[in-house]
């Protein structure tokens, strides 16, 4: 009988530290499955973020580097330039990619670095205790917007993917959601595309994944999936942006 499903080779067989209902575990697994399917485990180098996924290198079973908060794409740029035959990707949250690291993000994209970016948007800072993120929705309550985010005081949710899509160096941008089995299948397809682009030397590719953070959204896990569907997707529409 043919084996059609197993634990990904690129994912260590240990349990993660993530909260129940968190999207990180799913995203990690999707990347591991794609790396296996593309047969690049021995070529891939992952750049782990500062944030909840800081120890992603404990879960993935391939070469990884840490990067200081926000500097993932600077580190990735250098690794890829030094070792163009390797497949280099960054895994970054919204604070990392779109607040403290906006400069590195925009310039790596604008240089058209042949890199893959997996961008986890959960509209909140998780590791530090649920503060406002650049992608926090208007009205959303966080530790630093106790009355809810207002455009007057905190500006609007930052649509960094749309911004990046404007740059000539950026070849592929897609937003998908980890809110449902269908969304997860689409997410995986997008991740695979972003990796294939690098293998085929197409250029800078980014996949934004809307991901749940029930803990700091102050809701049960099942409700958080509803919140992605009913609130987040309205602000961050799904599909291929470029």
């Amino acid at each position: 009988m043919k084996k059609i499903f197993s634990h990904p080779k690129s994912l260590r067989n240990i349990s993660t530290h993530y909260c129940s209902g968190c999207g990180h575990g799913i995203a990690h697994r999707l990347i591991a499955e794609v790396v296996d399917e593309l047969g690049i485990r021995e070529r891939v180098i992952g750049i782990c973020p500062v944030g909840c996924a800081v120890v992603a290198y404990d879960y993935w079973d391939f070469d990884c580097s840490e990067a200081a908060h926000g500097r993932g794409l600077a580190v990735a740029t250098a690794i890829k330039r030094v070792r163009p035959e390797n497949i280099v990707f960054t895994y970054q949250g919204d604070g990392d990619l779109a607040a403290i690291g906006t400069n590195e993000t925009i310039h790596a994209a604008n240089r058209g670095e042949n890199l893959t970016v997996i961008f986890i948007n959960n509209a909140v800072y998780g590791m530090t205790g649920g503060q406002m993120a650049p992608t926090t929705l208007l009205g959303q309550k966080t530790a630093t917007t106790p009355e809810g985010r207002t455009s007057l005081m905190q500006g609007w949710p930052l649509k960094i993917s749309e911004m990046l899509a404007m740059l000539p160096g950026v070849k592929y941008v897609e937003r998908a959601s980890l809110d449902s089995p269908g969304g997860i299948i689409k997410s995986k397809k997008a991740i695979k595309q972003a990796f294939e682009n690098q293998i085929n030397k197409v250029g800078f590719s980014l996949v934004e994944l809307l991901s749940a953070c029930p803990t700091y959204w102050n809701m049960p896990a099942n409700q958080s999936l509803e919140w992605i569907k009913n609130s987040m997707i309205k602000e961050f529409p799904l599909g291929k942006i470029k």
Binding site: I45, D63, E66, V75
Partner: protein, 367 residues
């Protein structure tokens, strides 16, 4: 043997490329722009990697990445830019990655100005970023030494898997002096675009480097130790490494130390000026000597300890283009066993030969 007139900044870049630097990224800032310009011109034609980064933060983190990938990697800047790089340097030290960082010092604090200074001594030797770590700090004093020291810098960085900082300054970086080299110079090959001695980063074997986990367990470049006790264990190992470096890698130049009654202590540009004063006064029969630390960290404590306990009356005079930073290392080394005097200017002013002689006269009256 080739002899050529070159600026200190160019000599650093030439030395680095000859020493096998495979990756450079930097951001413009005066007075080190000749350095980034030299890399921009000569790295690509030698098959090496040059990136003008979007900021100093990006530049130092690119060095982190390039080094993690196994390349001999470096960046350069001047004082305000080096402040911005401190976080990255802390990460590099903690991830035990080799890297070379050049600081062509200018006057501060703040934006300060673009004139030479030596006011980043504390930042360099005490380690300007967070945490208990050390950079190895080297201080050249001539264009020739700016070139030569780059070979040592990369070797030490690789040997100890540790960041190495070069402390130059605006004068040393901008001035031209004859430089003698044994091999062919990159400037000499300007017309010949064909890469000479092309060294790809892949020729370096660093078993810890990120290369893809083919045939081995995955490598991780990181500085994060969350589990109780892990960081302390790691830090103790780092401290052991630093102790080893302190034991083995101290370097200084000494002049007329055995019979000197006054010993001038200075490094970099300041040491050149001090040295000509010392030589001049020796010709007049004055018992004066010079210690020029070449490694600022590890500081050459032992020579001070040896001289300070000898039974003769001895005074140290520390001279800096700052208001007394290396002074503290000399005081710590001498540990109260001899008087330590100080002369310093900063903000663009450089102590002159005349000022040094005046200070020495004042001291010798006291003797």
């Amino acid at each position: 043997m080739k002899k050529i007139l070159m600026t200190g900044n160019e000599a650093i870049a030439e030395g680095a490329i000859q020493a096998g630097c495979g990756f450079y990224s930097g951001y413009p800032i005066t007075p080190q722009n000749e350095l980034i310009g030299y890399f921009a011109k000569h790295m690509p034609e030698k098959g090496r990697i040059f990136i003008q980064a979007e900021s100093e933060l990006a530049a130092i983190n690119m060095v982190f990445g390039a080094s993690a990938a196994g390349a001999r990697a470096m960046t350069s800047s001047s004082s305000p830019g080096i402040s911005l790089k401190q976080e990255g340097i802390s990460y590099i030290a903690a991830a035990e990655l080799p890297a070379v960082i050049v600081n062509v010092m200018r006057a501060g604090p703040g934006l300060g100005n673009i004139w030479p200074a030596q006011s980043d001594y504390f930042q360099a030797t005490r380690s300007g970023g967070h945490g208990d770590y050390h950079c190895i700090v080297l201080a050249p004093a001539s264009v020739q030494e700016s070139y030569d020291i780059m070979f040592l810098a990369f070797d030490l960085a690789d040997k100890y898997r540790n960041p190495v900082m070069i402390l130059s300054d605006g004068i040393l970086g901008q001035m031209m002096e004859p430089l003698v080299v044994s091999g062919e110079l990159l400037v000499a090959s300007r017309k010949n675009k064909r890469p000479i001695n092309q060294l790809t980063t892949h020729q370096l074997t660093k078993p810890w480097a990120l290369t893809g986990c083919k045939g081995r367990k995955p490598n991780i470049a990181k500085s994060f130790y969350l589990k109780e006790g892990d960081l302390e264990k790691f830090n103790l190992r780092l401290q052991g490494k630093y102790k080893n470096i302190q034991d083995k890698e101290t370097r200084y130049e000494g002049l007329f130390l055995e019979d000197a009654k006054i010993i001038v202590v200075a490094y970099g540009t300041m040491a050149r000026i001090a040295k000509s004063v010392v030589n001049k006064l020796r010709e007049q029969g004055k018992k004066i000597g010079l210690i020029r630390p070449v490694t600022l960290w590890p500081f050459p404590k032992k020579i001070f300890q040896r001289l300070a306990v000898s039974d003769k009356l001895l005074v140290f005079l520390v001279i800096e283009m700052s208001y007394g930073q290396m002074l503290e290392d000399v005081q710590l080394a001498v540990n109260g066993k001899a008087p330590v005097e100080f002369l310093g200017r900063s903000g663009g002013g450089v102590p002159t030969e005349e000022e040094i002689i005046k200070k020495l006269q004042a001291i010798s009256f006291k003797l």
